[in-house]
Every structure is written in C-alpha cells, then in structure tokens.
Amino acid sequence: MILLQSPSRFLLQILKDRVVSGDKGVDIDCHTVEFDDVRYHIQFSMRNPKVMVLSVALPLAPPEAILHDGLPLGAIDAIKAAYGAVVQILDPPKDCFDVTMKINLTKLPTDEEQRNVVLTRIASVREVVLGAPLKLLLRHLASKTVAPNVDKLVALVHRPNESFFLAPQADKVTVVYPMRFQDSIDIVLATSFLQEFVEARRTAALNNAPSCMWSPVPPLELKGVNADALDANAGFVTFVVFPRHVEGRKLDKTVWSLLTFHAYVSYHVKCSEGFMHTRMRRRVESLIQALDRAKSDAEKLKKLVHGGSFRRLVCANINQTCI
C-alpha cells in the first residue's frame, strides 16, 4: 500500500460487521489509536441495537493552531454536511475525546452499495473533522475567492503539537510543511526523499501537479511565525495548489493528501529502514556462507566424527568426492 487510505480500516470493518450481523451479535466497546495520535472509541449495545456511538480524539494542537470549542474550524458543520441525518453529534463529547457522534443504523440506505459508501464515509471521520478548515480554504480556491476574515497565514494541526501552514490567495494556496523527525537516520532518509519530490515534480508527466520546493531554512511565507513552530530538522516543503487541483471530485482527495503528507513521508521512511534491515540480514547470511567455504575439509570432517555415526561418515566422504 503506497498511499495512505482515508477510511479507517478498523472502523470500516466494525461498521460493516455490525450491519451484516443484524439481530445477532455481541456488545462492542473498542478503542484504537491511529497514526499521529488520533484515537477512536466505538460502542454498540444489544439493548439499543439501532445505534452506535463513535468518539474521536484529535492530536494535541500547538499554540499557533487555533481551535474553536476544541475542534478545528468548521468541524461541526462538516460533520453535518457529510453525514446528514445518519449521524447526530452528542454534546458534550465523552471524557478524553473531542467529538462524540451517535450513528443511527436505521437511517442507512437499504441498497448494499450505497450503504457501503455511507459507511466508508463514516470511517473517514478523521478526514472530515481534521480536514474541515483545509476543505473550507480549498473550496474557496476552487471558486477563485478567498474566505472572509481569514488571516494571511493559517496554521492547522496535523500531528501532535505540530502544525503546517497555509497562505491562501484567490488564485493559489501555498502550503508549507516544517518537517521534523526524532531519529537522526530518519532525518537523513527523509531529506533525500523530500529532494526526490522536487526532482520528480520536474519530470514532464507531472507538470500539472502542484509545484513543489524544498529548502533547509524557513521560506519567506513563514516570516513572522514563532520560532518554536519553525524548528524543522529535515527542512521545509512548499506546495503551491491551484484551482484545477481542487475542482469537483478532486477536492476530498487533495484535502486528505495534504492533511497526511508528513505521515506519508514518515511511513515510507520507516518502510525503507525495514527493507534495509532485510537486505542486510540476507547479506550477512551470504557472507557467513562464504566464510564456511573457507573452513578446511579436515575441520568439517572432525565435526562429523564427533557428532555422527560411521555410516554418516561414509556418506560424507562420498558426498565430498562427488562435488
């Protein structure tokens, strides 16, 4: 799986199983944690079989990313728009969570395909809630306007205590990511990956993709931002998004891609390290085999004599003469 998928497989599986089970089934009370500190809690009780309760906790927001009632700007409206009557928001949310929703299973479409579409959308609650302010800004870009009352530089949370920055204008939106990694090896691998992004963008096939730049120092768009938010050990990546990238059906995909860019790079850095370990282990095995060849036949025979019987010794001799 190269690209990160928007619907959470955990949620989607639980929702689908519940719908398929119908009148049978057991009570569900499951917690899970996803990448970048997003937590889900889903509950179902046979005493109330028409309803499931889903709670979502979002990553801790840094000081420069402003929250409205503890949620990103426009999150409540986005939930209402995405789910309609199927979902009812519970206020206040459950303890230690940021939003709690009641899913009304009777309001799901009866047709299986349409129902799966709705369930998939519910499983993508992360994209709906966390991506709400980003979607607002990009929708304005699609209509070539700027939202009123919006700052020149907007900070949105995407990882615990870290944010990325947007400079919205009528004809383009500039997105800047300060890239931070904890491990020193991760930093070097990520830097080489990010430079590949710039190289890849230059190829003719990707001419219509958002333009992409990397710099080791904060770019000009971030002038005036608090120094804590600008500490990035793997440089800064800048994407420039144009209206053609957010028109029609592309809007949701663009929102998800931009929201999870850092997680995407991080995921592939880790995959790369895993692959390197596998390669190194294979190389070690082949080197040890080479060393075994250096051992003299007398030494190998000695080992056989100590461990084996006369018949094994004869077979070993025959094997060695045959080679």
Binding site: I2, L3, S184, I185, V188, L189, T191, S192, F193, Q195, E196, F197, E199, A200, R201, T203, A205, L206, N208, A209, P210, C212, V241, H245, K250, K253, T254, S257, F261, Y264, V265, H268, C271, S272, F275, M276, H277, R279, M280, R283, V284, S286, L287, I288, A290, L291, R293, A294, K295, S296, E299
Partner: protein, 168 residues
C-alpha cells in the same frame, strides 16, 4: 572503478605476505596465549604496519604480529546518506562478530571495521580461502552500500511520483 581492482590486489598480496601466523604463548604471563597485535607490548613480536590507501577517503591498515593479524578498513562515504548507510550496515555486521569469528567487535580508532585473525583461525581454515573471504567482504560492503543508496533513491522517486500523481 579500475582503481578498485588494483586496491584489492594490493591488499591481497599484502595479506598473503603477512599471514604467516604461528602459535606463541604469552611471554609475560604463564599459561596465557594472547593475540600479540592487540597488546603490542613486545616490539620483537610485531612487524611494521602497512597502510594501503585507495584515495583520501578509503584506506586499509594491516598490522601483523607473530600470532595474529589485524586488518582495519575505512570505507568510502561520499555524502550524508552514504555516511549513515555505511554506519548502519557496519554496526549491523560488528554486532554479529561472533558469527563471523574473524571480525572484531569494535573497529580500531579512526576506521570503520576491523578483523582480527589469529593462528587458531589459520589452523582451522585454508589461508588462501580466508584471504578470499576478506577481499570478498570488502567488495560486498561497497556493493551493499551502493545498492542500499540506490534503493533509497528509487523508493523516494516512486513515493514522490505516486503522491504527486493524485493531484492530476
């Protein structure tokens, strides 16, 4: 690339000359038998160390004594990425020194990886095959590091292309 062959041939010839090891019980302590090249206490038991340089970045130090020989390698590290790949890979190997028998757990100061070969190893294994192994090891390290670097760049290109393709 052609300097690699010359470099490896030079090292091979040096090792063939240097690897004449015999058992030598310790002169200072009764009933002890130590690799003299590690202790370096008695100068009559040591030969002159030989330093073979391919260029400023790559070199090989061969120190010989009567019962042991120590070979230290400094591996090419052109940029930051090769630097961490070499360090990661050589640390991976050094941690498995027990399996390799002739590998030293820690490289000598100033080098990336070291071998310690004693007379016991020479008794167990054929001398020319052991030298073959060392030279093969050096080639494999170089190959592995360039292949790791290539895999990182290829993966980076693929990851970037897939990401940017979504927007088109």
């Amino acid at each position: 690339a052609n300097t690699l062959r010359l470099y490896l041939t030079c090292i091979r010839n040096t090792l063939e000359a240097a690897m004449c090891l015999q058992n030598f019980p310790c002169q200072e302590v009764e009933r002890h038998n130590k690799p003299e090249v590690e202790l370096k206490t008695s100068s009559e038991l040591l030969l002159n160390p030989v330093l073979i340089c391919r260029n400023e970045a790559e070199k090989c130090l061969v120190e010989t004594s009567i019962n042991s020989i120590r070979i230290s390698l400094k591996v090419k590290q052109a940029d930051e990425l090769e630097n961490i790949l070499a360090k990661k890979f050589l640390r991976f190997l050094s941690m498995r020194a027990e399996a390799f028998q002739v590998l030293r757990r820690k490289p000598v100061q100033g080098y990336d990886i070291s071998f310690l070969i004693t007379n016991y190893h020479c008794e167990d294994m054929h001398k020319h095959k052991l030298i073959d192994f060392i030279v093969q090891f050096m080639e494999d390290i170089d190959k592995e590091i360039s292949e790791l670097k290539l895999s990182v760049n290829t993966r980076g290109r693929l990851v970037a292309t897939e990401f940017l393709k979504q927007f088109i």
